[in-house]
Symmetry: C2
Subunit: 376 residues, 2 copies
């Protein structure tokens, strides 16, 4: 079963029974149209589509156009502002807090990252906490904005509560991703972009569609018992933190998720822990919020703030070469440098197009009809 899962997750959609393939430009055009139909400005529509398409191109299918109808439903419920007036509400030379005015995280996070980069250009580093935002797509998109300026990029966000702390059966934390991105020289950047749960919710969804049990260590029942049921979350169960159980370090995954929650939401004035607003529109936000919307945390540090950029890049390349050549257990599976699989997907999909599974395809079709936009 291990091997079976392994293969499946390296290929994701490719092994789904039925899917459509679409070229990047067509999907991008469609996605921009949807955001325009929501009332987003031209700039925001183009940027939001760019963040989602980047996820699809990089093989992170759970965070691409598969989420488009989710954003639209939040907007229709009045929980998402298509015309946000974002602003800095607190700052020092290298820190700031941004209020996202309930906008799409897809535009609020880049706005905040630009501020972090500007501060880093002047002072060496810049750090921006964000409140009153929504789901920001893939963390890697925002961190890569810093990498393009030869900076180290840092992006995280809290999210709807689905994960239990160690020893608990209550959903207290989101899958709270953290991302670090480092520029390199001749190689593409090293990008660590990871949910702090043992498995992302998207992996359970794949198992659901295939009627396959999930491995132990991903989820637990509402009573806190180990579960292999891919539908466990629908029955009040929860995801487990990275480490899965206490013996294998789940308190570390919980600690990392707590770090993301505090930096993104306690620091910014957003909702933290179980108060974080749900992404799905059929669940109402809690009646007693402790802050505004969802929170993010973004950072940029100039690599040449620590050593000459040529030295840094040369040693990054040496680091990458050495890790690529680390002795593999099995020669058919060499060691992967963080960020490589996403890059491979991006190269493949720029040629062969983006695979869209039938469920998502149908969802996009309905969305197009509903918003009177030409379907793909």
């Amino acid at each position: 079963m291990l091997e079976q899962y392994h293969l499946k997750y390296l290929h994701k959609n490719i092994l789904e029974k039925k899917y459509y393939t679409i070229q990047e430009t067509a999907l991008r055009h469609f996605t921009e149209q949807i955001f325009r139909a929501m009332g987003c400005s031209e700039e925001h529509a183009v940027l939001s589509a760019d963040v989602l398409i980047k996820a699809d191109m990089r093989g992170v299918d759970s965070h691409g156009v598969a989420r488009l109808s989710g954003y639209v439903r939040l907007w229709q419920k009045g929980r998402l502002n298509a015309k946000p007036v974002m602003r800095i509400i607190h700052e020092t030379p290298t820190t700031a807090t941004v209020d996202g005015d309930q906008g799409l995280g897809l535009v609020v996070a880049p706005y905040a990252m630009k501020i972090a980069i500007q501060k880093a250009e002047t002072y060496g580093s810049g750090w921006v906490a964000v409140r009153n935002s929504n789901h920001f797509g893939i963390a890697g998109y925002h961190a890569l904005m810093a990498v393009e300026k030869d900076m180290i990029g840092y992006a995280m966000t809290n999210a709807s509560p689905l994960v239990t702390p160690t020893f608990s059966k209550e959903r207290m934390l989101g899958t709270n991703p953290m991302c670090y991105a480092f520029p390199a020289g001749k190689y593409p950047p090293v990008i660590i972009d990871m949910a702090t749960s043992a498995a992302a919710n998207g992996k359970l969804e794949i198992a659901q569609r295939k009627d396959l049990p999930i491995p132990e260590g991903w989820a637990q029942t509402s009573s806190g018992l180990s579960s292999t049921n891919p539908n466990e979350l629908k029955q009040g169960g929860s995801l487990l933190p990275l480490g899965s159980d206490r013996l294998h370090g789940s308190h570390k995954g919980y600690g990392l998720s707590a770090t993301v929650d505090i930096l993104s939401a306690v620091l910014s004035g957003a909702n933290y822990g179980p108060w974080a607003p749900p992404f799905v529109s059929y669940l109402d936000p809690v009646p007693d919020p402790v802050g505004l919307g969802l929170g993010h945390f973004l950072g940029a540090m100039r690599a040449d703030g620590f050593r000459p950029i040529a030295d840094f890049k040369q040693h990054m390349d040496n680091w990458i070469t050495r890790f690529k050549n680390a002795e593999p257990i099995n020669k058919i599976q060499p060691v992967i440098v963080p960020g490589e699989p996403e890059l491979v997907a991006e190269r493949e999909r720029s040629i062969s197009g983006i695979p869209i599974i039938e469920d998502v395809w149908d969802d996009l079709k309905k969305l197009a009809e509903h918003l009177k936009v030409d379907h793909l």
Copy 2:
């Protein structure tokens, strides 16, 4: 077996067969004497002892006086400078790189953290990479220096290679700890201080002394096979990253460890990956270093750089209260807020003294004889 382990690790030394108990002040005095005998300045001897004693007080026995003879042996081999001249070799208003002049990490890291704090006082945040250092003790000590100034503290270090990347059988990374520490109001600070491996080496050592198998997911053989042998590392095996296997997210633990390695060593000009110098003196450093010594990375951000400090602390307290009250799976084991177990140990040990297991006791006795210092 799960329960058995669980209990054991919550109590650590207490369940060892034979141990001595000693009061903090006596152990501190003894430790200072050892550092003085090495030729450390009065200031450095007091500080180094403080870092080690803090570990023992907080129940992190693997990083306290148990390591004292290790530092002495490195010094005797000429790989540790007892009189370092530390200096900034590169900087911007909020970033710096420090050369530790082969000093004790126990003094180099606090030196670097002070610089980070000073920069944060002026500009909101400060970030210091360190090269040419040695083992810095517990990361939490350094991060807490920032917390005392109402800042968020950040400390990490790379370490001797013992951990394999996902898919590899080659030791490429240390247990590379990362620590985040947050000030609170009425509660003690929240401190996430964790090795990025599934289990720390100290846990294997406990199993060795008790002749107990270790759980699967902690270590693998030199061929990359799953192992339950607590002596596996002595036979060329390796520790596994947090997540244990690919299916449970070992690529995330590997990514976190890589982050620590890059920030601590590639950014600073220290040795990274498999080039990191071994802590044990009987292993020689590699003949082809890529940098100087071991590396650290320290940071401080003013909490009031993001929102008024009273608001931040109030919400930290609310976060802590809510997490302490998260519904437990079993009422006898409430949810733990990161940093609580260390604080409980500190309170207990300030009254009942520090338990020192026989092995360490004998080691300290030999050390005292060797350096002509009065034994405890």
